[in-house]
């Protein structure tokens, strides 16, 4: 049955979508205004859900229409979902403030198609992500995942050039292949266990050929959408080609949606089905992503591509938690410090990477290019932007007190306690490689220019928004100092 405050979960999903639907007929300038009305409301709802969750000392549940599963659909928010809801609300607000410079429609000017689409798609991405976090049903999750794809593909090609259209089409084809594999898995779940509700499924599922097939199909589909190495080929052109305010959304938030679904599948739906070798395989793909992404990022001549390849690498960290969470004693995935590390990594990457894409966008519009080799003098011309970029990188490397540090610390302690030292080596080597390419960028920007650097004005809201997200990421690790219930275990006891 629904718990107290469960209606807030429905509000978290409905609010962005209602704003989007209102914005469609309202048109350019009013669509933007609707987005700015929804942002504080959505933020308040996310905070409200967090407080309800703390009070209830268990998941917040809302049963739609009073029809209990398996016939009806339940929305649930547990610790990881609450953390992601809060993080997404914060990051969307930051990106929205930044986007005013690119997609604002000043009074009296004509509505542009890119701006009108951007604000609607921003709300659609937000609503779909919230649905992914709170859905308790594998089929609802499928619909949420498709909504997310349909909202994010047009973001890639807002500029409308041939290059971005091609990147968007390639992204869409990868996503479609992934979603059909996921749907096949969901269909087989219903055929084998007669329910799609995650909590009921967790009680009924047994380790057998059917459930192994299901996990393999769904995970493979979701990896294609998350762009885990070696299925990452669509990501760099798509994320680097989009306008900066869209890249920040795509790279910071959208990929976390399908990743979160893998977490739901492995930790909540089928913790006893997955095997240690399969978890090690996910970890190995993650390690491949870290080394490949970082090495390629190091060789990039353009800043936006460098940041996009850095995303490829950071996705790898998100998958290191799976082998680390495997409890060899009971032979199943267990909640614990590895899960907290993974969620913390997702949140700190969301804040840091959106700040870095926003900084890269500001640099592009100030200089008219983003060639790293010609960055001399940039730190003097755009000190706040370069500082924010550096802070984002500081979190990605994992230096204290950044969120990236806490995430790595938790993952390292999980590696130590489970005796899987090789993942600790990957974590540390990845941090060194990250430091290398950030050093290249920042040291270029700090160099004295041969001729005075001419920069174009970049708008009033860009720098504060970028700096706020970068600061959030760089200080996120301080939550370890406070007595937050559920940390570092990630969720409070009490099941379902």
């Amino acid at each position: 049955m629904s718990t107290e405050g469960g209606l807030l979960l429905a509000a978290a999903v409905l609010l962005p979508f209602a704003g989007m639907l209102l914005g469609v007929p309202a048109g350019g300038r009013r669509a933007q205004r609707t987005a700015f009305i929804v942002m504080p409301l959505g933020l308040a709802v996310a905070v409200g859900i967090a407080f309800t969750w703390l009070d209830a000392s268990g998941p917040v549940v809302y049963v739609l229409g009073g029809w209990a599963p398996p016939l009806g659909i339940a929305l649930r928010a547990d610790g990881p979902a609450v953390a992601m809801l809060l993080a997404v609300a914060g990051v969307v607000t930051g990106i929205g403030l930044f986007a005013r410079a690119d997609f604002g429609t000043p009074k009296g000017s004509a509505e542009s198609r890119a701006a009108y689409s951007y604000w609607l798609l921003l709300l659609a991405v937000w609503g779909s992500l919230n649905l992914v976090f709170v859905s308790g049903d594998l089929f609802t999750l499928y619909v949420a995942l498709e909504l997310l794809t349909f909202a994010s593909v047009p973001l890639v090609c807002l500029a409308g050039s041939g290059e971005t259209l091609r990147a968007a089409l390639r992204y869409l084809l990868f996503a479609l292949c992934g979603s059909v594999l996921y749907l096949l898995g969901a269909v087989l779940v219903f055929g084998a266990y007669g329910t799609l509700d995650i909590a009921l499924l967790a009680q009924r599922v047994r380790p057998e050929a059917a459930s192994w097939t299901i996990v393999a199909l769904m995970t493979a589909g979701l990896l294609a959408k998350t762009a885990l190495f070696p299925l990452h080929v669509w990501l760099p052109p798509a994320h680097a080609g989009a306008p900066p305010a869209a890249s920040a959304l795509l790279s910071g938030l959208v990929i976390k949606g399908s990743w979160f679904l893998v977490v739901r599948l492995w930790f909540d739906a089928m913790p006893g089905v997955v095997t240690l070798p399969s978890a090690q395989l996910l970890g190995a793909l993650g390690a491949g992503a870290i080394f490949f992404g970082n090495a390629v990022a190091l060789r990039q001549a353009r800043l936006k591509l460098l940041v996009a390849y850095s995303t490829v690498a950071q996705i790898g960290y998100l998958f290191l938690m799976f082998p680390l969470a495997f409890d060899a004693g009971s032979g199943r995935i267990a909640d614990g410090v590895a899960l907290s590390g993974g969620i913390m990594q997702a949140i700190s990457h969301a804040t840091a990477k959106s700040a870095m894409f926003m900084a890269a966008g500001s640099i592009y519009s100030a200089l008219g290019h983003d060639r790293i080799a010609d960055f001399a003098g940039l730190a003097r011309a755009l000190p706040v932007t370069v500082f924010a970029f550096g802070l984002g990188g500081f979190s990605l490397i994992g230096l204290p007190p950044a969120g990236g540090f806490l995430a790595k610390w938790w993952l390292l302690s999980a590696a130590a306690s489970s005796g899987q030292w090789w993942w600790a080596l990957v974590l540390l080597a990845g941090g060194l490689l990250t430091a290398a390419y950030l050093f290249v960028v920042v040291s270029r920007a700090l160099r004295a220019p041969d001729a005075p650097l001419v920069v174009a004005p970049i708008g009033r809201y860009r720098e504060p928004a970028t700096l706020a997200l970068a600061m959030a990421s760089a200080l996120l690790g301080l939550v370890a100092l406070f007595d937050v219930p559920g940390l570092p275990i990630g969720r409070l006891p009490a099941g379902a």
């Binding site: 499928y142 050039s161 290059e163 259209l165 968007a168 089409l169 059909v180 269909v187």
Partner: protein, 110 residues
Amino acid sequence: MTAETLIALVACALVGIGLYGLIVQPHPLRKLVAFNVMGSGVFVIFGALARRGAAAGMPADPVPQALLITAIVVAFAATAMTVALLLRLIESTGSASLAAEPPAADGEAR
């Protein structure tokens, strides 16, 4: 062999053909057709499962049918979106190839 088993086997063949086409065919339109073949296979499997899971006195389990309608709508929307993107791509570049062009001049894309 019961009718449901036969239908399910045909559906598996459809999924296999679709997946093969989606990976192997280079042209985006062919990929899209392959995606639809694969999707149809999934829908047919769902139908066969609905028939197998029918309660006594009922021709089929109604829940999969309700979900199936949603899944078909989603697949239709995805197909429409892919075609729209493909048309825009042909309009702006004159070709429907997914292969990357030679590296663009500096600062062209942002």
